[in-house]
């Protein structure tokens, strides 16, 4: 651990061990500072969420929570919060189903076939990156009024699915590419049809990765603010609700709301932590 690659590092090995130790010390100080930089702000939000409204508004403030749940109770009993929470869950679930349902077949096709038009499709998917997708909410707001999808869960989920689809395609593409085609071919020679081979051989191997990208799609929708605020009026999601009540709601409500937004996202990111780097790294090349 102290000397990672002794053979390849003759100069460093010859250098005084003090220098090495000092380097280690600087490295770990940097890491600890960065860890604190990430965690302390979240901790402070949680302190506020777990203190009574009076404590939230008090000055100077304590740096640890009193575990008084009245801020949270106030938030959850506030008019419209539970509906907004439920709307967020429904929109995110639909987003997940639509984006994976459409994206996974496309990812599979890209990974297994060579065909004319493949590059054109890839270009279309990658091109979405150069566009500020939440802005799609503006023209779609008009279209949805015409088609009766305005202020609906499905309408918003369609826009969120558009945000998540490029990721779903690219991530599933890299997932399926990582499963050797020989496994499938072996199943065919043993008498499986194409579909049977996919269901029995490929799917079990790809399932955890697909689940991870589905969770990712869920988080994209759960966190989205702009399109949600533009497209929903009565059926607001939690983000839309919080945004639109920002200038009227008291501080304890804001912080409890912030905590309610952060906590599920934290859990989901923890659930997919193994896949975060593989998904982003390969899918984004």
């Amino acid at each position: 651990m102290t000397v990672a690659t002794p053979a390849a590092d003759p100069l460093a090995a010859a250098a005084a061990p003090d220098v090495r130790r000092a380097g280690r010390w600087v490295l770990w100080t940097g890491i600890v500072l960065l860890v604190l930089w990430v965690l302390v702000p979240i901790y402070l939000l949680m302190v506020n969420a777990l203190s009574s409204p009076a404590e939230v508004n008090a000055f100077p403030k304590r740096f640890w929570p009193s575990f008084d749940l009245s801020s949270l109770t106030f938030f959850f009993q506030f008019q419209g919060v539970l509906e907004a929470l439920w709307n967020s869950v429904r929109v995110a679930t639909l987003t997940m189903l639509i984006s994976i349902g459409l994206g996974a077949p496309a990812g599979y096709a890209l990974s297994r076939f060579e065909f004319p038009g493949k590059e054109a499709f890839r270009f279309l998917v990658i091109m979405t990156r150069a566009f500020p997708l939440p802005l799609l909410a503006l023209p779609l707001a008009v279209l949805f009024i015409r088609t009766g999808l305005d202020d609906s869960i499905l309408g918003l989920a369609l826009v969120h699915a558009m945000l998540a689809l490029p990721f779903a395609v690219l991530i599933t593409f890299s997932l399926f590419s990582g499963i050797p085609v020989e496994l499938e071919e072996a199943a065919w020679t043993l008498g499986c049809t194409r579909i049977q081979a996919f269901v029995k051989v490929v799917l079990p191997l790809a399932a955890p990765g697909i689940a991870a990208s589905a969770i990712f799609a869920f988080v994209i929708s759960w966190n989205e603010v702009f399109a949600a605020a533009v497209l929903t009026i009565q059926n607001r999601t939690l983000t839309a609700f919080l945004l639109q009540s920002l200038n009227v709601s008291p501080l304890p409500l804001k912080f409890a709301g912030g905590a309610a937004l952060v906590l599920p996202a934290l859990i989901f990111i923890f659930a997919v932590r193994k896949y975060l780097f593989a998904m982003w790294g390969i899918a984004n090349r």
Binding site: P60, Y108, A109, P139, V159, G258, A265
Partner: protein
């Protein structure tokens, strides 16, 4: 059948992209150039004529120019540090990646807890006896502080996305390259600038494009921290669409953001261009 299969698999996604991506963006273009059914530049004139436009435009650019380079440096530092350790590597990577899952609105609220009048920054200053009364940081008369708070929240929230892409990109660089450079006597810094950085270009490209576009779309963080005192492009788009109910001007704003995004994507692609033969 065998020939048609890939097309059948791509069909749903392609149709979806046509209906919910290409077509609506076509609509925005048309909407921005029409008013009452006639082709006109009136929307753009109205947008530019409003005093908040140039403020919003330059605020967005300034924020991007300050935040993105700092984030690039931080993300590179994080990735390099993590590559040097073994014990606790996965835990630390997970912690660094946490803000990836946090909504921009939540990030704004998190930093509001720090910067608000009864917030933690004031509490800390008073704990150390530096102030008697809490300072009102986030007001009209303290725009620099509003800017700093927004910039910090943005750096806090969106460095993770660049870090994750860069870490994954570093993982793809064969270790032998760095070892070879080391054998030939390259210093740490030389190894970084001559080996790691050039090989990292494809990842940097992606990271920068994603991040710069996100910076042009900055919205909820600004609303949570600055209210209306710090106009940005996306916030103005929202106001014209939602509050002022003028879709034409909102579409014109959308075109400005779109134009910036496409222009910067092309610039980044050119700057960090990697010839196909040079990819690993």
């Amino acid at each position: 059948m065998q020939r048609a299969l890939p097309y059948l698999l791509l069909l749903p996604a392609t149709l979806f992209l046509m209906v919910f991506f290409l077509y609506p963006f076509g609509l925005v273009v048309v909407e921005s150039f029409t008013r009452g059914g006639e082709w006109t530049l009136a929307n753009y004139e109205r947008m530019v004529g409003h005093w908040r436009f140039s403020t919003a435009f330059w605020n967005t650019i300034l924020l991007t120019a300050v935040v993105v380079p700092l984030q690039l440096i931080m993300a590179l530092a994080m990735a390099t540090m993590v590559s040097k350790i073994e014990a606790g590597r996965t835990t630390i990577l997970y912690i660094f990646a946490i803000p990836l899952g946090i909504s921009d609105l939540a990030a704004g609220l998190i930093w509001l807890a720090i910067f608000t009048q009864s917030g933690f920054l004031n509490s800390m200053l008073s704990f150390f006896g530096l102030i008697d009364r809490p300072i009102f940081f986030l007001g009209f008369d303290n725009l620099l502080m509003v800017f700093i708070a927004i910039a910090l929240a943005e750096i806090w929230r969106a460095t993770a996305i660049m870090m994750v892409i860069i870490v994954a990109g570093m993982g793809l660089i064969p270790k032998e390259y760095n070892e070879a450079a080391e054998v030939f006597g390259a210093s740490r810094w030389q190894r970084f600038t001559k080996v790691t950085f050039p090989l990292l270009r494809p990842s940097l490209q992606t990271a920068l494009i994603l991040r710069v576009l996100m910076a042009f779309e900055v919205f909820a963080v600004v609303v949570a921290l600055g209210g209306t005192s710090f106009p940005v492009l996306m916030g103005e788009t929202f106001n014209w669409q939602f509050t002022l109910q003028d879709r034409g001007v909102a579409a014109a704003y959308a075109m400005v953001i779109l134009g910036l995004s496409v222009a910067f994507t092309i610039v980044i692609l050119r700057l960090l261009h990697v010839p196909k033969e040079a990819r690993i």
